[in-house]
C-alpha cells in the first residue's frame, strides 16, 4: 500500500464524518439566522437552511460506503446487501415536501405581515405582547 492510497483512505474516512459535520453546521447556521436576524424573510431563509441540514443528516445516516442505490434493476437482482439504507431516503422525501409547505406558508405569512404593518422588521411587530 503506497502513501497515496493511504491518504486516499484517510480522505474517504474524513469525508464520511464530514457529512455529519456539514449537516450539523447547516442546522446551526439556520438556527443562528432564526434567532438573530431582524428581517422576516431572512428568518424564513434560516428555517429552510435548518430543514436542509436535517435532511442532509438523514441522507448521511442512511449512506453506506461503496453501496449502490436501493433499486432492484437488471444486474442487481440480489444485491440487497450492497445497497444503502432506503428508509432514510424515503423519510427525507417526506420531510422535503413538508419543509416546502412550511416555507410557503411562512412566506405567505410574511407577505400578510408586511401588508398589515408596512414593515418586515421583526422588532417592529409588537402588537401582541406577553
Amino acid at each position: 500500500m503506497n502513501s497515496f492510497q493511504e491518504v486516499f483512505i484517510r480522505y474517504r474516512e474524513l469525508m464520511e464524518i464530514a457529512v455529519y459535520g456539514v449537516a450539523i453546521l447547516l442546522i446551526l447556521i439556520g438556527l443562528y439566522a432564526v434567532l438573530t436576524k431582524k428581517h422576516l424573510v431572512k428568518v424564513v431563509i434560516g428555517l429552510s437552511i435548518m430543514d436542509a441540514g436535517v435532511n442532509l443528516l438523514f441522507v448521511g445516516v442512511g449512506y453506506i460506503t461503496n453501496h449502490t442505490a436501493p433499486i432492484f434493476s437488471p444486474g442487481y437482482e440480489d444485491a440487497a446487501d450492497k445497497m444503502v439504507d432506503p428508509v432514510p431516503q424515503a423519510l427525507v422525501l417526506t420531510a422535503i415536501v413538508i419543509g416546502f409547505a412550511v416555507t410557503a406558508l411562512a412566506l405567505s405569512l410574511v407577505i400578510r405581515l408586511y401588508r398589515h404593518h408596512k414593515t418586515a422588521n421583526i422588532e417592529q411587530l409588537n402588537s401582541l405582547r406577553w
Binding site: 428555517l47 423519510l91 412550511v102 411562512a106 405569512l109 401582541l128
Partner: protein
C-alpha cells in the same frame, strides 16, 4: 364496509379535499359535509371503543405490511378514549360554529372548514399512529393547519400570531426529526413498539439526547413552559370555534404524544422528575400570567396552558391514580375549556370587545350564556359538584401516594391563583356595573345545543364519575403496561 381505525384519518382527510368540489355542486356543502363526517366518526368511536375496552387493543395493518415494516395504527384503550373525545369535541365544535359563520363572507367558510377538518385528521392521526415518523407527519399536518387557522382573519393580528407559532413549530419539527433520526440509527426501526423493545440495548447518552429532542419538540406542541409563547397569541387571534378546537383537539393530541413517548418509548421513571418540574413551572407561570390579562381570550389561553401543565405533572407522578387523574383532566379540560371559549366568544361578539372590563353586568343581557360560563369557570377550578373536582382530586391523591408534599402544596396554591381570576370574571359578569344595552346577538339554536350538551357532560360526570371511571382505569393501566403494547403490536399477523 367494516369499521376500522383507519376511518378516523381517511374520512376527515378525504372530506377536507373533497369540500372544494362538493361546494361547486351544492352551495352549503362546506358547512354540512364536516358535520356528516364528524358525526360518522363519533359513530365509529361508539362501535370501536367498547370493542377495544373489552377485547384489548386493535392493531390495524396498512397496505399489507406487517407491523415492524409498514405503518400501522394502534388503538389502545388509552388512545381509543382520546380518539372518542377528539371526534366528539370536533363534532360539537362544528355544531357550535354552524351558524356563527354566516358572518363570514363567501368562500372563506370553505377554507375554515377545510383547515378545521385537516387539523382534526392530524390530531386523530397523532393519537392512533404506531409509527414514529408517521407521528411526525401528523404533527406537521396539525401544526400547519393550526398556524393557518391562527392567521385566519386578515383584519386581526393573526399573521403575527401565526408567525410566532410558525417559528416555534419549525423548531419543534427540526427537533422531532433529530430525535427520530437518533432513535433510528440506534434501533433501525421506526415502529414505536419495536423501538421500545430494542430500547434497553441503546447507549445511555444517545437515549438521553433523543429524549431531550423529543420532549422539547412535543413540549412546544403541548405548551410546556419556556416554549409556549405561541399559545396565548394563537388562541386569541384564531376564530372562536378554533380556539375551542385548539384546547379540545390539538391539546389532547399533543399531550397524548408526550405520554406515549415518555411511557412507551422511554422509561416513565427517567422522565418523571423532568415532567413534574416542567409541568409545575408551566402551571405556575401560566396561572400567574393569567391574572395579569385584560383580555378574555388570552386569559382563557393562559388557563389552558396551566391545565396542560397539570396534566404534565400528573404524567410525571406516574402512578396509576395520577394517570387516571391525568386522563380525566384531559377529558375535563377539553370539554370545559371548549365550553368557556364558546360562551366567552358570545360575550366578545356582543360587546365587540375582548376586554374583561366589557363583561360588567353582562348577565342581564345574556343570562343563559353567563350561567354556562360561570358553570364552566367553577368546574375548571375544581369546585366539588363538577367534573373538574375529580381530576384534580385524583392527581393530588396520586401525588400523596408518592409522598410529594411540596407538589401538593404547590398545586393547591396555584388553584387559589386560578380561583382568583376566574371568580373575578364571574364577579364582573354578575355584580359589575352594567351598561344598559340590549343583547344584539342572541346565541343561535345550534350553539345553544352544543354549549348545553357540554355543560350537561360537566355536571353529569361531576355527579357520577363512576360512569367512566372504570374505562379510564383500564386505559391508564394499559398506558403503564409497556410490554403489553409491544406484544400487541408485534404479534399481529
Amino acid at each position: 364496509m367494516v369499521i376500522s381505525p383507519v376511518h378516523y384519518i381517511v374520512a376527515p382527510l378525504a372530506a377536507a379535499f373533497l369540500i372544494p368540489l362538493l361546494n361547486k355542486l351544492y352551495d352549503d356543502a362546506a358547512r354540512v359535509v364536516p358535520g356528516i363526517v364528524l358525526g360518522y366518526l363519533v359513530v365509529v368511536s361508539a362501535v370501536l371503543v367498547p370493542q377495544v375496552l373489552h377485547n384489548g387493543p386493535i392493531t390495524e395493518i396498512i397496505a399489507g405490511w406487517r407491523p415492524p415494516f409498514g405503518i400501522n395504527l394502534v388503538m389502545t384503550p388509552f388512545s381509543a378514549i382520546l380518539a372518542l373525545l377528539v371526534s366528539f369535541m370536533a363534532f360539537v365544535i362544528w355544531l357550535y360554529g354552524f351558524r356563527f359563520r354566516r358572518t363570514l363572507k363567501g368562500g372563506v367558510v370553505m377554507y375554515y372548514e377545510i383547515l378545521q377538518m385537516m387539523m382534526t385528521a392530524g390530531a386523530l392521526g397523532i393519537i392512533l399512529t404506531g409509527d414514529l415518523f408517521n407521528m411526525f407527519v401528523f404533527v406537521e399536518i396539525a401544526g400547519i393547519t393550526a398556524i393557518s387557522l391562527a392567521a385566519f382573519y386578515r383584519d386581526r393580528d393573526g399573521a403575527e400570531a401565526g408567525f410566532k407559532y410558525m417559528l416555534l413549530g419549525s423548531l419543534a419539527s427540526v427537533f422531532l426529526l433529530l430525535g427520530i433520526l437518533l432513535l433510528y440509527t440506534q434501533t433501525h426501526s421506526l415502529n414505536m413498539a419495536q423501538i421500545a423493545e430494542r430500547m434497553p440495548a441503546v447507549a445511555q447518552g444517545v437515549k438521553i439526547m433523543a429524549l431531550i429532542f423529543l420532549l422539547v419538540s412535543l413540549g412546544i406542541e403541548a405548551e410546556m413552559f419556556p416554549l409556549n409563547s405561541w399559545a396565548p397569541d394563537a388562541y386569541s387571534q384564531a376564530p372562536s370555534p378554533t380556539s375551542a378546537a385548539f384546547a379540545a383537539v390539538l391539546g389532547v393530541a399533543a399531550v397524548y404524544a408526550l405520554a406515549r413517548v415518555s411511557y412507551t418509548l422511554f422509561d416513565a421513571q427517567s422522565v418523571s422528575m423532568f415532567l413534574m418540574v416542567m409541568g409545575f413551572l408551566t402551571m405556575f407561570f401560566a396561572e400567574t400570567a393569567a391574572i395579569a390579562q385584560t383580555d378574555l381570550k388570552r386569559m382563557l389561553a393562559y388557563s389552558s396552558m396551566g391545565q396542560m401543565g397539570l396534566v404534565m405533572v400528573a404524567l410525571g407522578i406516574g402512578n396509576e391514580t395520577a394517570l387516571f387523574g391525568a386522563l380525566f383532566l384531559i377529558i375535563n379540560h377539553a370539554v370545559i375549556k371548549a365550553l368557556l371559549f364558546m360562551t366567552g366568544s358570545y360575550f366578545i361578539y356582543n360587546n365587540n370587545s375582548k376586554r374583561l372590563v366589557a363583561l360588567n353586568g353582562i348577565h342581564k343581557r345574556l343570562p343563559y350564556v353567563s350561567f354556562l360560563f360561570s358553570l364552566g369557570a367553577l368546574a375548571i377550578i375544581g369546585f366539588p359538584p363538577f367534573s373538574g373536582f375529580w381530576s384534580k382530586f385524583y392527581i393530588l391523591s396520586g401525588a400523596a401516594k408518592r409522598e410529594l408534599l411540596p407538589l401538593i402544596i404547590g398545586i393547591l396554591a396555584i388553584t387559589i391563583v386560578e380561583m382568583t381570576y376566574y371568580l373575578r370574571v364571574i364577579g364582573r359578569i354578575y355584580f359589575g356595573k352594567e351598561e344598559t344595552e340590549p343583547a344584539s346577538h342572541k346565541p343561535s339554536i345550534n350553539a345553544l345545543v352544543a354549549m348545553t350538551s357540554l355543560a350537561v357532560i360537566i355536571v353529569v360526570l361531576g355527579l357520577y364519575p363512576d360512569l367512566i371511571s372504570g374505562y379510564l382505569h383500564k386505559a391508564s393501566m394499559f398506558l403503564l403496561d409497556k410490554q403489553a403494547y409491544i406484544q400487541n403490536v408485534l404479534s399481529v399477523k
